[in-house]
């Protein structure tokens, strides 16, 4: 520690600089390990000083994350990480703030704070680990669990309509939504870098396997036999292609996305939907792929659904303060204490 004082300002950091000397206490095989490794891996590449990073979390398995990053961090209370981060960012725009949350923490107990943080558009990074189950409380259904899921609190199957996180984020005026998954570290790394580069609230849903209470929920998107048919990787400016040997694509039939076979001679790549992350309507349709309710089975999209530039809350707040100060001048404290109507008693 003593030697570091003499190093130049932007020292070369490695992932080891972000790994504290604490034992990581997630269950063996938990998807969180993979996410932690990718986050630690990209941090040296972000061009920031170590002390500028802050992790804020709520409650749940994912929310232990700050303890495993050797940065500033706060492990707060259930659902409130976004609200705490909002106050921190509004008062300290210089900090690089990351929120780590889960499907229960973000979308159930913290749902109100999540939607308002998204619409206000602070420059924050939200990583929501979605495992479609409550892990830390030992296996109850979550707001993203599918109908019929048998859990400790739903022994006869869940009757709740689940949230679709992408639709929720877009409905809440999110300026950035992306999806990745724990079993695709390379993709996750790209998405994390893009999320960080986005100026505004970037909301990343990460499919994360809970080997104890909901094992294998997302395996069809990552395992060899099914991945190519079930996953659709979004690339900016590129047509939507998936399937074994890239043999399938998505095209629009009116506003309805349909799967087409690229090998039967009826459709070519030129007919396909081209991904445009600035297009809100396309993003909304992509978000609906997960609903599986429009009569067609569609692959699950991964990547950046939507990303637009908009002034951040803290920029606008600072701008307003500067503008008002320019017009009115900064009052001294004695002027504030006296107000504009006084009288003297001799």
């Amino acid at each position: 520690m003593n030697e570091t004082n003499n190093l130049p300002v932007l020292e070369k950091l490695t992932y080891k600089d972000f790994a504290p000397d604490q034992d990581v206490k997630w269950c063996p095989g938990c998807g969180d390990y993979s996410i932690l490794k990718q986050v630690q891996g990209i941090f040296p590449e972000l061009g920031k000083k170590k002390e500028e990073f802050v992790f804020i979390s709520g409650i749940g398995c994912s929310s232990r994350f700050p303890y495993y990053m050797d940065t500033y961090g706060m492990h707060s209370i259930h659902g409130r990480a976004t609200a705490i981060a909002a106050g921190l960012k509004a008062s300290r725009p210089d900090l690089d703030i990351w929120i780590v949350t889960g499907d229960g923490d973000a979308m159930s107990i913290g749902g109100n704070h999540l939607i308002h943080t998204l619409r206000k558009n602070f420059n924050l990074n939200i990583l929501m680990f979605n495992n479609e189950i409550y892990g830390l409380t030992k296996g109850q259904y979550s707001p993203t669990s599918h109908v019929g899921l048998v859990t400790k609190s739903t022994p006869f199957g869940s009757i709740d309509e689940p949230f679709n996180p992408a639709e929720l984020a877009l409905g809440a005026k999110s300026t950035f939504f992306a999806r990745s998954l724990d079993r695709d570290p390379k993709h996750m790394k790209e998405i994390l870098l893009e999320a960080h580069a986005h100026k505004g609230t970037s909301f990343v849903e990460i499919y994360q396997n809970c080997p104890v209470f909901n094992d294998g929920t997302f395996f069809i998107y990552s395992e060899k036999g099914t991945k190519k048919e079930e996953s659709l990787y979004l690339e900016e400016g590129k047509p939507l292609i998936f399937g074994e040997n890239n043999s399938k694509g998505i095209k629009f039939d009116g506003f309805k996305p349909v799967v087409v076979d690229l090998t039967d001679g009826k459709n070519s790549i030129d007919d396909l939907w081209v991904h445009d992350k600035n297009d809100r309507i396309k993003a909304t349709i992509l978000a609906s792929f997960a609903n599986g309710s429009n009569g067609t089975h569609l692959p699950r999209p991964f990547g950046i659904f939507y990303s637009i530039d908009k002034p951040t809350y803290e920029e606008t707040m600072m701008h307003q303060i500067e503008e008002v100060t320019k017009i009115k001048g900064r009052p001294n404290l004695d002027e504030i204490l006296s107000g504009d109507k006084t009288w003297v008693i001799a």
Binding site: N2, H75, R330
Partner: protein, 619 residues
């Protein structure tokens, strides 16, 4: 003393402006008050309004009142009974006549007593109080204020609706004439307020002048009053409400401590005015954040405090309940945070616009786990400044959230305030750690100083990266610890830190009387003025009574127990069902007697005097 020209010189007078919510009584009362204060009289006010923005016009539920007590002597309360009642309609008369002194003056707007208004006020068919004998004990002036105002302003070209709305200025003019006060202050106010609409300004000024002329030329008023200026200590004064005093105290503490001010708040009556007032001070760098709910309001403030701000959240009872979990987090994190609760009648939505002191036990005990916090309570509108400033000093210097319990009565009430100069404000010591604090070069976020206070660190400080959280921490290192003895140690350390604050607060002292008196009245919060008046009156009547008023509710002043032991009779009046009394009995085992009122209203002086006399006469 009646002089030759019919002017009575009085030491003090209470005026009650009463009308429909839409009649502009709050503005009329405020203008009358500010003018009166400006002319050097001491004042105390009590605005009282319905919870509905516009309750059905003409009904009792829609009555909005503004009471002002002013005089040439020191004024501590808004007064038990009024000398003058201005009743703009039948409902106002019916609702407020009960507290008019016998022989008092009633000024009515006869236009508000037509058959519709009488029916809405639920008078029986055919009954009009202005036309029967029911008001014979009073001096009643029946003036068709509405038509006089319309007549006076007919040349202005204002719409009928605008003419109607100017009638409160005509009333103000009449009152200025009756109390021999210059309208200049209000004329300046109107010119500023309507600077973009000079026609409206001129019309309002004309309405005031017409009211004055009406008083002067018609000679219908038998009585005029003269109240001399009050012998207040020399100095420069302003008028202040409790909520505005809180806003100014927060800005002052921010400037003196050098910490940026952050307010996270969610609108709630009667606390919203603090948010409104602070939001005007963007040019002082104040950051106000209207959060999505009460929980986000306190959580955003916790986030800003973690970032190094002077952080505040403001609320009232229901919001306080929502904030309790986060308040526990702030307590275990040991971060500075000001939580201001402007108490109102509860539980639940209760009486949103009425006053109560019923959140003391919540502030003391209303969190899960062992969660002690310092609590301060202001006793008057101007005392809100001193109390909140002190709360800021304590929160920063002792690294603990601090709760301030004000209430609706002092939040909206106003009084003259001899405001301090910036350089006279106490210093606030704000320190941030910038280097490791242990021999082996590591940083220990929960290593304490002699006051059990942990170091404060700003994220962004090189080399001091660490994690804090809601889980129990190991002593000094702050690492997660479930070790049994460590938990007990940490609970005791957090308690010791709060207890140690007794060394930083003044000892309790007598506001009136001494320890040799027969009975002590122990009060807290907004009951101050009433208790003070009651005790002073009894002392002047020859009774041996005394008064101590607490600002520091937790921890109590060091000497409080010893003082209380000296009394055979201790009376604790509270606007609740007995809360301070429980804590006092528990802590000091003294046989205190309670006086409780839970009507959403402050005590009257006579209620307190009568209770004191009842105890003294029992012996």
């Amino acid at each position: 003393m009646k002089t030759e020209d019919g002017v009575i010189e009085k030491e003090s007078v209470v005026v009650r402006f009463s009308g429909d919510s839409g009649d502009g009584m709050q503005l009329t009362g405020t203008q009358f008050t500010d003018t009166t204060a400006f002319l050097g009289k001491d004042i105390s006010t009590f605005p009282e309004f319905p919870a509905e923005i516009r309750a059905p016009a003409g009904t009792i539920a829609g009555v909005s009142g503004f009471q002002v007590h002013f005089g040439s002597k020191e004024i501590f309360t808004a007064g038990d009974e009024y000398d003058v009642l201005v009743a703009m309609n039948a409902a106002a008369l019916k609702s407020d006549i009960g507290n008019l002194k016998k022989g008092g003056i009633i000024i009515t707007n006869t236009a508000g007593f037509d058959s519709k208004n009488l029916r809405l006020a639920e008078y029986q068919d055919g009954v009009n109080p202005l036309e029967d004998e029911s008001l014979s004990e009073y001096e009643v002036y029946k003036v068709n204020i509405t038509s006089l105002t319309k007549e006076a302003l007919k040349e202005t070209g204002l719409s009928n609706k605008e003419l109607e709305r100017s009638k409160n200025m005509f009333v103000l003019g009449m009152l200025y004439w009756i109390f021999d006060q210059s309208p200049d202050y209000t004329i300046n106010f109107i010119n500023e307020k309507f600077s973009k609409n000079p026609e409206l300004a001129q019309a309002n000024i004309l309405a005031i002048k017409s009211g004055i002329n009406f008083g002067e030329t018609t000679e219908i008023f038998n009585t005029r009053f003269k109240i001399n200026a009050s012998p207040q200590p020399p100095g420069t004064y302003r008028s202040i409400t409790g909520n505005n005093a809180i806003a100014i105290a927060l800005i002052s503490a921010s400037e003196i401590s050098g910490l940026p001010l952050f307010l996270g708040s969610y609108p709630i009556t009667p606390a919203s005015d603090i948010l409104h007032e602070l939001s005007k001070y963007k040019h002082s760098g104040v950051r106000t954040f209207q959060a999505e709910d009460e929980i986000a309001a306190i959580c955003s403030a916790i986030g800003a405090s973690y970032g190094g701000s002077l952080s505040v959240t403001t609320t009232s009872g229901p919001g306080m309940s929502l904030k309790t979990e986060a308040l526990g987090l702030a307590t275990i994190l040991e971060l500075p945070l000001i939580v201001i609760n402007i108490q109102r009648g509860g539980p639940s939505t209760g009486l949103p616009t009425k006053t109560e002191q019923s959140d003391l036990l919540q502030a003391m005990y209303g969190r899960h786990g062992e969660c002690p916090l310092p609590i301060l309570a202001p006793c008057s509108p101007s005392d809100c400044f001193d109390t909140v400033y002190e709360a800021c000093k304590l929160t920063v210097e002792h690294m603990t959230p601090v709760i301030v319990l004000s209430d609706g009565y002092i939040a909206n009430g106003s009084e003259p305030w001899k405001f301090p100069a910036a350089y006279d404000l106490p210093k606030i010591k704000s320190v941030f750690a910038d280097k490791p604090n242990s021999d082996d070069g590591t940083f220990l976020p929960y290593k304490r100083d002699e006051n059990f206070v942990r170091p404060r660190v700003k994220p962004g400080t090189k080399g001091l990266e660490h994690r804090i959280g809601g889980l129990e921490k190991a002593n000094e290192t702050g690492d997660i610890s479930y070790e049994p003895h460590n938990h007990e140690l940490m609970v005791n350390l957090r308690q010791a830190k709060v207890d140690k604050i007794t060394d930083s607060i003044p000892e309790a002292k007598f506001d009136s009387g001494s320890e040799d008196s027969e009975l002590l009245v122990l009060g807290w919060g907004s009951t101050y003025g009433t208790i003070k008046t009651a005790v002073l009156e009894l002392i002047s009547e020859g009774y041996n009574v005394s008064h101590i008023h607490l600002r520091h509710m937790n921890p109590f002043p060091k000497n409080l127990g010893l003082l209380l032991m000296k009394f055979k009779n201790i009376l604790i009046p509270e606007i609740n069902n007995g809360q301070l009394i429980k804590i006092i009995r528990d802590k000091y085992l003294v046989p205190a007697i309670g006086l409780n009122k839970i009507q959403g209203l402050p005590f009257t002086t006579s209620e307190i005097k009568n209770k004191i006399l009842e105890i003294l006469n029992k012996k």
